[in-house]
């Protein structure tokens, strides 16, 4: 203990340097964690989180009683997580390999620059672009195909629309990380494979893909902790927060955002948030444990 104190005193400059970020994390991230207790309280604005009376599991009973909403948004959250993660990872890898294999490097560079641009456009702006394509009367899609599809009141269309928007937004940028790995592969490996008579596909299968596995693992692992969270802007802005579309577009995060604006159902919302945080934590621990078993060097902690 005395050693520890002496060591800390010796490093007092480092303690001072770590302090500002420590405090920001404390007030912005840690204090709201304690606020999750409101899931077990009968929240009253005038009494605050800690002053409100305890409600036991009342909020969770309420959650189960109005389970249609709860199940719908949980189902949507998970569905989009699976689609976005599976399809997104696949396309990230395909695009990274495709650009890497392309021999016209100058053209590849220009194309890549253009592919990354969408990630820098906020969803508050994206929704206007989406509207230009799919609005009923003025949309490019309807005009080009001579149809009058009312996209904004047809829930069944939205899983496809949101998936396309998400891919448009994120795949170009997502592939950059994988490209940085590909750039590090020793070219002699490919030459040796060529001499041994391996064709392009065999080279990709036996050299390129195995080299990408660690990065894929890390990225999947990082995303699993967010399994219950969504890209709120995509579901809140791009859908124009339209109630008609909720059956296929409402996710937990957009529900919570709406609840905050309407200052309603705080008990229900708090219980949902608690569920969301706990499931996220469990999934992260589970995924990390799994990776630790299979290939310890890729585990996060």
């Amino acid at each position: 203990m005395k050693d520890f104190l002496r060591n800390t005193w010796k490093h007092r400059a480092h303690v001072v340097m770590a302090l500002p970020a420590f405090l920001v994390l404390f007030f912005i991230m840690y204090v709201p964690m304690a606020g999750l207790v409101m899931a077990f309280k009968n929240f009253d604005f005038s009494k605050g989180i800690w002053g409100s009376p305890w409600a036991g599991l009342g909020n969770f009973k309420f959650l189960l009683a109005s389970k249609a909403t709860f199940i719908n948004m949980t189902k949507n959250t998970l569905m989009y997580y699976v689609i976005f993660t599976a399809l997104g990872t696949f396309l990230n890898v395909v695009l990274a390999i495709a650009i890497d294999q392309f021999v016209f490097k100058k053209a590849a560079k220009v194309m890549q620059t253009l592919m990354i641009i969408p990630v820098f456009i906020s969803y508050a702006a994206v929704q206007f672009i989406v509207y230009a394509f799919i609005s009923t009367d003025t949309g490019i899609l309807n005009n080009a195909l001579g149809m009058t599809t009312r996209f904004y009141s047809t829930p069944s269309m939205w899983p496809a629309i949101l998936t396309i928007v998400k891919i448009w937004n994120s795949v170009g940028y997502g592939s950059v990380l994988y490209m940085s790995v590909l750039a590090g592969i020793d070219t002699e490996l490919y030459e040796a494979a060529q001499i041994d008579g391996a064709n392009k596909w065999q080279q990709i299968w036996h050299i390129t893909l195995p080299a990408l596995i660690p990065m894929i693992t890390v990225m999947l692992l990082l995303s699993v902790g967010n399994i219950m969270r969504s890209d709120t802007g995509l579901f809140y802005q791009v859908t124009r927060n339209s109630g008609v579309l909720y059956p296929t577009t409402q996710v937990i995060d957009s529900y919570v955002l709406n609840a905050i604006f309407k200052s309603s159902n705080f008990g229900f919302t708090a219980a949902t948030s608690f569920f969301q945080s706990v499931v996220g934590l469990l999934m992260m621990l589970f995924a990390n444990g799994l990776v630790r078993k299979i290939s310890p060097e890729d585990a996060l902690f």
Binding site: V24, M33, M111, I121, L177, T187
Partner: protein, 310 residues
């Protein structure tokens, strides 16, 4: 990476023979995907300069019948609010990014010091927010009723200021790319801890700071959610909130179709039109489009998260 460049001369012949038909097929598909990404952005430019009547009659188009500067003029008529919002957005982007980079790199530097016993605890402290999160509702109530920061610019800056991932990227860069001997030598020459950090470490950290900084700046520039949750006065509204408000007023008009024509006329320029809306979008996304190519080269170099753990 260097290997590839090292024997470029020997590779030249085999590179030539690789330009087979397969390359052109690959190029075709890459071009298709590029168009898929770029055309929607191009549409913003075109629609912003399209005549309003052409849009209402024929819909949005890549080849408008009539061009017009009216949309852009309408945006300029927002005048003061637009300038204010630009000011706010630039302020939170610059202040937030600078503050975040400074305090995150100091934190990353501290926990990467060998023989600093507290660094183990600090690393775990850093990792926990990535695993467990209080969520939006709890954050909202604590920031507004307990910290009393409703309608404060602090809530546009602090929540995006320190992120676990960014600290990890910075720490990885310090551990892998800045030789510890340099810092030791500086200390032997009599530089204090702070001087060592600011004069040796920080300058060498530049590539990583550029990559992280640009991603932070984008996050600040594009943040609509915190603004929508916390900001109420016009004087503090950032650009993204203007976009959200335009959409809200369009929705209001659509949902209240019984608003009489005279009332609509009285609202005059306040009724957002297609072309002026797109011109606003253009004004909001423009600066990032311009800045981005200059930072692209740092992405691959600085954002290598391959070795995130430590």
């Amino acid at each position: 990476m260097s290997k590839r460049k090292g024997n470029a001369a020997d590779l030249a012949p085999s590179k030539m023979e690789k330009k087979g038909p397969g390359q052109y097929v690959l190029g075709f598909f890459l071009l298709l995907y590029t168009l898929f990404c770029a055309l929607p952005v191009l549409l913003v430019f075109i629609a912003a300069f399209t005549d309003e009547k052409a849009i209402t009659q024929n819909g949005f188009s890549f080849f408008p019948e009539k061009w017009s500067l009216n949309g852009v003029n309408a945006v300029l008529r927002y005048g003061k609010q637009l300038l204010t919002s630009y000011g706010i957005t630039i302020f939170i982007t610059v202040a937030g990014t600078a503050l975040g980079l400074l305090i995150m790199s100091m934190f990353a530097y501290s926990i990467s010091r060998r023989d600093f016993r507290l660094s183990k605890f600090l690393s775990i402290y850093l990792l926990i927010p990535m695993l467990f999160n209080g969520g939006q509702l709890s954050g909202y109530i604590i920031f507004t009723s307990y910290y009393g920061l409703k309608d404060s610019l602090w809530l546009l800056i602090l929540p995006l200021c320190v992120t676990t991932m960014n600290v990890i990227i910075l720490r990885t860069y310090i551990a892998n790319s800045i030789p510890n001997e340099l810092m030791e030598a500086a200390k032997i020459d009599g530089a204090g801890e702070y001087r060592t950090f600011f004069q040796i470490t920080l300058p060498l950290l530049k590539p990583s700071l550029a990559a992280v900084g640009f991603m932070m700046a984008t996050a600040y520039w594009n943040d609509w959610q915190n603004a929508l949750l916390y900001i109420t006065t016009d004087a503090k509204k950032p650009l993204q909130l203007l976009l959200v408000n335009i959409q809200k007023s369009i929705e209001f008009l659509l949902n209240n179709s019984n608003v009489p024509a005279s009332a609509r006329a009285a609202m005059g320029g306040n009724i957002p039109q297609y072309s002026s809306t797109m011109a606003t979008v253009l004004v909001v996304i423009g600066p990032i489009m311009v800045a981005y190519p200059f930072f692209q080269k740092y992405f691959v170099k600085g954002l290598t998260v391959g070795s995130v753990k430590g």
